[in-house]
């Protein structure tokens, strides 16, 4: 089945196009539809949190935007330009790797299991992207990386390999590593889920500081409802592959409208 691509604009024009737009994005594994015709806009500088039960497709949203997953239909736009597609002869066609790399350079991501490179030190992890991808001189990359390690409170551990660091420390290095690429959009995929309870605040404090001091656009998947409520501009509740309900944290957490949202929030509240 081929999709009619003429329904999608070649690029988003006007003054106030969103930083990220998912337009009718569908993702399926075989017959299992994970995301169904997702429409989602994220404005520049906005912090959007995605919550929902497991299997609701929330992590998939971030993974598609990071191009770790392909999409089956629809188009994802970043800063007005298509990410998953490119223009050829006035039509959108699937993007080639050069196009994807150009658009992807605007996006950074942190993972649940940190995924630091074990054969590099904390500093080496942070410098790898700037030196190898951005081709910055080593000196400049080192300065930038040290500054970021300082910001996440890991400058002292710069020469340690990840195996010598705790989970919270590894995640903070991972945040510095992603930021060293100077992304406009940051994706946080359950970054506290693999951490011991007592070190979660190490990481959430760093994210809090980022929200306060940087004008990053952020998308976060989390199970930390308190953190989501405190930090988000908007919360999206995913259920069964689509957005069941979204709104300001006050509205969604205090006065949810949909039955499924209420059930989910009650279940989470009970568990805590």
């Amino acid at each position: 089945m081929t999709e009619d691509m003429s329904q999608y604009p070649l690029r988003l024009d006007g003054d106030d196009f969103p930083m990220v737009r998912f337009q009718k994005v569908t993702k399926a594994y075989g017959s299992l539809v994970v995301l169904n015709q997702l429409d989602l806009d994220v404005s520049a500088g906005e912090m959007v949190t995605i919550i929902g039960p497991s299997g609701s497709g929330k992590t998939t949203v971030l993974r598609m935007l990071m191009t770790l997953e392909t999409i089956n239909s629809g188009v994802i736009y970043v800063e007005g330009e298509p990410l998953t597609h490119m223009e050829r002869d006035g039509r959108l066609v699937p993007a080639n790797s050069a196009h994807i790399r150009r658009i992807r350079s605007k996006i950074g991501m942190c993972f649940q299991h940190f995924n630091l490179f074990p054969h590099m030190t904390a500093l080496g992890n942070c410098m790898e992207g700037p030196v190898q991808v951005l081709r910055l001189p080593r000196k400049e990359a080192e300065e930038r990386s040290l500054e970021l390690l300082e910001m996440v409170g890991m400058a002292e551990k710069r020469d340690q390999h990840p195996s010598r660091l705790s989970g919270g420390q590894q995640q903070r290095v991972a945040i510095a590593r992603a930021l060293a690429m100077r992304p406009k959009i940051m994706l946080f995929d359950e970054v506290t889920s693999a951490l011991d309870p007592e070190v979660i605040s190490e990481v959430t404090n760093v994210i809090r500081r980022l929200v306060d001091t940087h004008n990053l656009t952020m998308l976060m998947v989390t199970h930390q409802m308190g953190f989501a409520k405190e930090i988000s501009d908007r919360v999206c509740f995913f259920f069964d592959g689509s957005i069941e309900e979204q709104g300001s944290p006050a509205k969604l957490f205090e006065t949810p409208e949909r039955e499924r949202t209420k059930q989910f929030l009650n279940a989470v509240l009970e568990a805590n």
């Binding site: 990071m66 770790l68 490179f117 992207g129």
Partner: protein
């Protein structure tokens, strides 16, 4: 004739042979490593043609006898206009054969690197080449070192076959000594000891030191 007298009479030949064996072994190892990386990566290619070439290569060189391959390279290739001297044919045959086994080690080790490492490299917007060379291969290298230790000892033992195309290696020399003296126990007994000592005193410690150094580098030790 005591064993000491035997050694006094024949040690010169055996040392010469041992030196050739060590050369054959080192050159075979270099060929095997190159072949292993090349075909290991090719077997992981998304391109069907590239992958097929690797599969066919590995099947042929793993699936048939090293001795037959050695004879092919030395006796049959000249019929197609490719002439190799016996020394080159020797280490090439052993290296090409063992490289096919090594290719599977390379492939397996690359697949053993956690998926999250690839994803982190993509998130840093690395090109596919950088992902492989900067992130995956260094980790795969550590994973595959222990099985490579075994393979390299196999390479050493495999080089004994080159005597059959008259490369004057250790095996060739002790056969000559045996023919001339009929001292089979002394001749082949000494050969066994020399092969064992090269593996035990040279290959194993070098590989062990390598493993330790790499583990330290990756911060595991």
């Amino acid at each position: 004739m005591t064993y000491v007298e035997f050694l006094q009479a024949h040690s010169g030949r055996m040392i010469d042979g041992t030196i050739i064996t060590v050369y054959q072994f080192l050159l075979s190892t270099v060929v095997a490593i190159g072949i292993a990386i090349l075909f290991g990566l090719m077997k992981l290619s998304k391109n069907l043609a590239v992958r097929s070439v690797a599969i066919i290569y590995i099947e042929i060189f793993r699936g048939t006898s090293l001795l037959v391959q050695l004879f092919w390279i030395f006796f049959v290739l000249p019929l197609f206009g490719i002439h190799l001297d016996k020394f080159t044919a020797g280490f090439l045959a052993v290296g090409l054969n063992m490289g096919a086994y090594g290719a599977e080690l390379v492939r397996g080790a690359i697949l053993a690197v956690p998926q999250g490492q690839w994803e982190a490299a993509i998130a840093l917007n690395m090109s596919s080449r950088k992902r492989m060379w900067r992130v995956v291969l260094p980790q795969a290298f550590v994973i595959m070192l222990p099985p490579w230790g075994n393979l390299i000892i196999e390479i050493l033992k495999g080089t004994a076959l080159v005597a059959l195309i008259s490369v004057t290696d250790l095996m060739f020399e002790v056969r000559q000594i045996n023919i001339n003296t009929f001292l089979s126990i002394e001749a082949f007994g000494t050969a066994i000891i020399i092969y064992y000592l090269i593996a035990r005193l040279f290959v194993t410690p070098v590989m062990r030191a390598f493993e330790n150094a790499m583990s330290r580098k990756i911060g595991r030790a």
